[in-house]
Amino acid sequence: MSSDKVLLDYGSGGRASQRLISELFLKHFANDELDRLNDAATLSLKGKISMSTDSFTVDPIFFPGGDIGSLAVHGTVNDVAMLGAIPRYMTCAYIIEEGLPMEDLEKIVKSMGEACRHAGVNIVTGDTKVVPKGMVDKIFINTTGVGEIIADPAPSGDRAAVGDAVLVSGTMGDHGLTILGTREGLSLESNVKSDSAALNHLLVKLVQEIPDIHVLRDPTRGGLATTLNEITVSSNVCCELEESTIPVLPEVAGGCSFLGLDPLYLANEGKFLCILPQEHAEKALEIMRADDLGKDACQVGTITDANPGKVVLVTPLGGRRLLNMLEGEQLPRIC
């Protein structure tokens, strides 16, 4: 590219935009459908379709374990896959702040391309806007994904049933703490990194082997606690969690304790929770643990009828307390 920074011209639709598309986006996203550069994409899909959209505004745009580009792919691919679907296609729309270093943009686009190849989805249409300095913070990305649902019936947040087992695929809070730590320049003593990853291959294996999974969800913003609260309300059941079984990396637990945060409310970007009849739990865990993305999978609780709409945490002392929904963002405390 001729400039080392993104200029307003690049979003104008003229030659500068053309160059950005051909020299950057097509280079990293290449596939037959996108290469045609039509106004819209033609999709070939069978059966019921899962569709999801998300906008990514993460700050910082580069963080240990990923960047806004890979996150924009993983986030949407995972959402699509949570209905027991194989993600196939994605759209992506960039809003870029004038002056963003070209090098940063290329890094993001490249990482997005790699994440797509790994997840097996194609970006088939997209858009780029460049806005004057200060109108957005560096770069915002929206992605929309579609996939073919292979689970029948599809997992859904209102299908948790009394007696079900609650499984998580790994450690909680890694992404949230990484972002917060990096954003604030906190020198957390450890090498905590984001868990951002595409879960679709593991999820497909799971729904193919176990036909009756009641709920699959990725506990992103608001973490495990918020996601479980949403499920218990939708399904009108109680979720009882054994606190000691919930996997949290010691460095994440340490960082959270230092900042006054609870890892169960922190975002995850490469984990899922799976609610299914107890008799299938062992098999599901076996499948999950055989995959690197699920190696720390375990059962953390059960669905009961004790306190419908609530998540109850049984602490290591044997005490019982609510794991309530957070009101807003977690704020660092005074002392």
Partner: protein, 364 residues
């Protein structure tokens, strides 16, 4: 101290043994008050609240600095935030505390005020040097734990010649507030779990009066379940004496005389003053204001802020809760008109407030 050793303070087996000892040695009901938001949260988060013998009654006192920040002090924050050229720097949990009209710094932020959440008061110095055309005012809220660091920040600003850094000092001192609470004939407290963090600075002796003057047991306590249970056991044993001496359970963090250097720095910059406590009112000698020689850092003086008494929020019983006269659930607003989504009083705003803890953690 290694992490493994620290884990022992959460050891469920040890907790069970301590609970058994506590049950054995109990001699009727004991109403204990903790005076630290971290204790409040720890007691609930660990589930301790639900496993304590029913004779051990837990009261949450005025130990959360956010909760005791007076409405008129919040009004002063809002006043400041509305001024041109002012950047308000604050610890995070203050931004949702409502003033007497129900507005908070979050509203001010939406109206265009510049409010920056920082993690250390020293970050406010960076903010000041990076924004030479603005005045950065740090909201000095906290107890003896926080005040020395803020005093040190003022000394650092002086050293760096930073003229655009100011502090609004609403610091509060714990011992005078406890004195007022115990002397109130309506409060019924048998003993105190005292905040370990505060004593890392002031040591244990500023609390001698609890035993000497009022004959009540008190224990400086750490923050994990084992700490709390051990302290309760110490309290139960001491309650059988006439004038029990102050005890220190948190020996791994607190020495008898605390940190004299920190106290010295605190009193180099600040001096004792009267202070308003939310729900309690004016307590003589319970605040910290700038000494004359540091008044150029004093936002209260420079912006001529008016800090007067104002009416408490209508229907709010936080005052009763902070004094241990009422448990949060007994407040008619609790969980109805007052929730974390729409907090009426400060005890519901702060994550370490007792009402918020009851709302967030209590199952039934």
């Amino acid at each position: 101290m290694s992490l493994e050793i620290l884990d022992r303070f959460n050891d469920p087996e040890l907790c069970k043994e301590l609970l058994a000892c506590l049950r054995d040695e109990l001699d009727g009901e004991i109403r204990f008050m903790e005076v630290c938001g971290t204790h409040t949260v720890s007691i609930f988060r660990s589930g301790l609240h639900s496993v304590l013998p029913k004779e051990v009654v837990h009261l949450s006192g005025p130990g959360c600095p956010v909760c005791v920040t007076h409405e008129s002090e919040v009004n002063a924050f809002l006043d400041l935030a509305g001024k041109d050229g002012v950047i308000v720097a604050t610890f995070g949990d203050l931004i949702k505390v409502p003033g007497d009209k129900g507005h908070c710094l979050k509203n001010a932020q939406a109206d265009g005020a510049r409010v920056e959440i920082i993690y250390s008061p020293f970050d406010a110095l960076d903010l000041a040097s990076n924004n030479p055309d603005s005045t950065v005012v740090f909201l000095g809220v906290g107890f003896e734990t926080t005040a020395p660091t803020i005093a040190a920040t003022v000394l650092m600003a002086q050293q760096q010649g930073l003229e655009n850094f100011k502090v609004l000092s609403f610091h509060k001192l714990v011992p005078p507030a406890l004195d007022i609470l115990i002397s109130d004939p309506e409060t019924c407290i048998d003993g105190f779990l005292l905040p370990g963090h505060v004593s890392t600075v002031i040591g244990i002796h500023p609390y001698d009066f609890i035993g000497e003057k009022y004959g009540k047991p008190s224990v400086v306590t750490g923050f994990d379940p084992v700490d709390i249970l051990q302290a309760l056991l110490m309290m139960v044993r001491a309650s059988k004496q006439d004038h029990p001496a102050i005890q220190n359970q948190y020996v791994r963090g607190v020495s008898e005389n605390g940190n004299p250097k920190a106290v010295e720095v605190m009193y180099q910059v600040f001096e004792e003053s009267d202070a308003l406590w939310r729900g309690i009112g004016m307590i003589p000698g319970s605040g910290l204001e700038f000494r004359k020689e540091f008044e150029k850092y004093d936002a209260k003086k420079i912006f001529d802020l008016n800090i007067g008494e104002c009416l408490p929020l209508k229907g709010c019983k936080c005052g009763e809760v902070l004094k241990g006269k009422m448990t949060p659930e007994k407040c008619p607003l609790f969980g109805k008109a007052c929730t974390p989504a729409k907090p009426v009083g400060p005890c519901m705003v702060s994550t370490e407030g007792s009402c918020a803890a009851y709302f967030k953690y209590k199952v039934d």
